[in-house]
Symmetry: C2
């Protein structure tokens, strides 16, 4: 069976959400597709190659997803194949999407009958298995789809669209989350107020998105990006992208963990994304021939 | 008589100091020289040209300084001539230096017997006359010289030197102070915590300067620059300068009001500056022939 799950953008509140602050996140119209077929062994195929269980390597999320799933449902063996629209390590939630899509495909293939809440709980465990720390945001959005204010999980709608520029630099979430934690521990008097300011931006940002107020979103993007820079998750390359976008009258910010990855903009982007995409779902095609990617 | 007064750098805490937060400022080895000679009329000559009283134009600070001085000491008329090492509108305190040097020269020429405290008070009034608002920091440092933690006015010493890059853009203090106030009024929940974070950086910065810890100063520069960007006083050009300096392993921040002006760096600069220069003083040369500029 084939299942798919969406990538996400964090529109406001990346990093601060780890410390209980508000964030605004949305599923996007880029998806990861996973086919699971019962087999005598575990075999994982993606654009990174083919492996068996590979807990510490290129198939860490998928391997942990199979293991976590097998705790609730007997899995003799399975062949898993991945096709993803979501650029990896870009801050667009590719890891969570492949995790959730894998769980969705296993759930369908093995008739486990898990609901979305249970899929989310397993995906959340996989995130912790691989990263050690993490907010649970990405698995949540990839599982349920839509646009959300966290941590209260208030669903909302916006008609605004955004654009994305890939910095070309790799973003490693666990590493960036760790660095911010170290910075907070070393400079609490500086970083804690910055996290508070990010919280206020996220609350205002959700309101601005809901009333489709792009001018206000743009102002909040600028402030949020500067604060992300203050906590050490921007790069000189991203700073230059942001300067170029701002000179053209738009605004831009990191989306996701930073240190590279994608920049979310109100214009001048390489790729347009729409928000509020559907969460994990079983696809009604049986093989890749019908997939739209 | 000729008097001179130094320019200044704000090492930490520009803008936040307006709201009662800590700042670290130092007089630098770039000076403004002013010659005052009794005359039948008021005549002001600088690189901007020659005028009489010119309260709203290019000699606003000098004109207000003569007027404020004449409130405490009869001035029939005076010829004032200015030669300054300090680039104007660069965030290096050229306005305060010309004000303080003018007051120092008038004090000497008219034997008014004012002490530094009284010169500072007059210079502070001139700043408000011209700008409407202002922290009093620049006149204070230009008058007394040295390195200081504000607002407690604790004098300290550092052996660290810095470099300066001129962004080529004009910085207008009053305009930038007004913009930050508007931003604070519109987004208090975002900006007030940012000002608190700047305060913590300034307190840490003074300690790091005192123990000549350039690595720590560099880390604090990065954070402070990001927060200055958050309150809207950076520019795309400054962002690119900062990115270039950071890529070379140094760090950089706006010094002064921003929106242009000079960038203070730990390396890659166009001009080296030393700190803790002497405050306002009467020069022992009688004419420009002996001035070292």
């Amino acid at each position: 069976m084939i299942a798919s799950a969406p990538g996400k953008v964090i529109v406001f509140g990346e990093h601060s959400v780890v410390y209980g602050k508000h964030a605004v996140v949305s599923a996007i119209d880029l998806r990861c597709y996973v086919k699971a077929e019962k087999s005598g062994e575990v075999r994982i195929t993606s654009s990174f190659g083919t492996t068996g269980y590979d807990f510490a390597g290129k198939h860490a999320y998928i391997s942990h997803a199979i293991r976590r799933f097998s705790e609730v449902c007997e899995v003799g063996g399975v062949e898993v194949e991945v096709r993803s629209d979501i650029p990896p390590a870009s801050g667009l939630g590719s890891s969570a999407a492949v995790t959730v899509a894998t769980l969705g495909a296993l759930n369908a293939e093995f008739n486990a009958g898990l609901g979305r809440e249970e899929i989310f709980e397993l995906a959340r465990k996989v995130e912790l298995d691989v990263q050690g720390i993490g907010s649970g945001t990405d698995p949540f959005v990839s599982t349920f789809g839509g646009s959300w204010v966290l941590p209260e999980k208030r669903r909302f709608h916006t008609d605004l669209e955004f654009e994305v520029i890939d910095s070309g630099e790799t973003s490693v979430t666990a590493e960036m989350v760790r660095r911010v934690r170290e910075l907070r521990d070393a400079y609490p008097d500086v970083i804690l107020p910055v996290l508070d300011a990010m919280d206020a931006i996220a609350v205002r940002g959700a309101e601005a998105l809901e009333r489709n107020d792009i001018a206000e979103v743009s102002r909040l993007f600028r402030m949020n990006q500067s604060l992300l820079r203050a906590i050490g998750v921007s790069t000189p390359e991203i700073d230059r992208i942001v300067a170029r976008v701002e000179e053209a009258g738009y605004s831009a910010k990191i989306t996701g963990a930073g240190g590279g990855g994608c920049v979310l903009t109100t214009g001048m982007g390489e790729m347009r994304i729409s928000l509020s995409a559907e969460g994990v779902r079983v696809e009604d095609f049986e093989d890749w021939g019908s997939a739209d990617n």
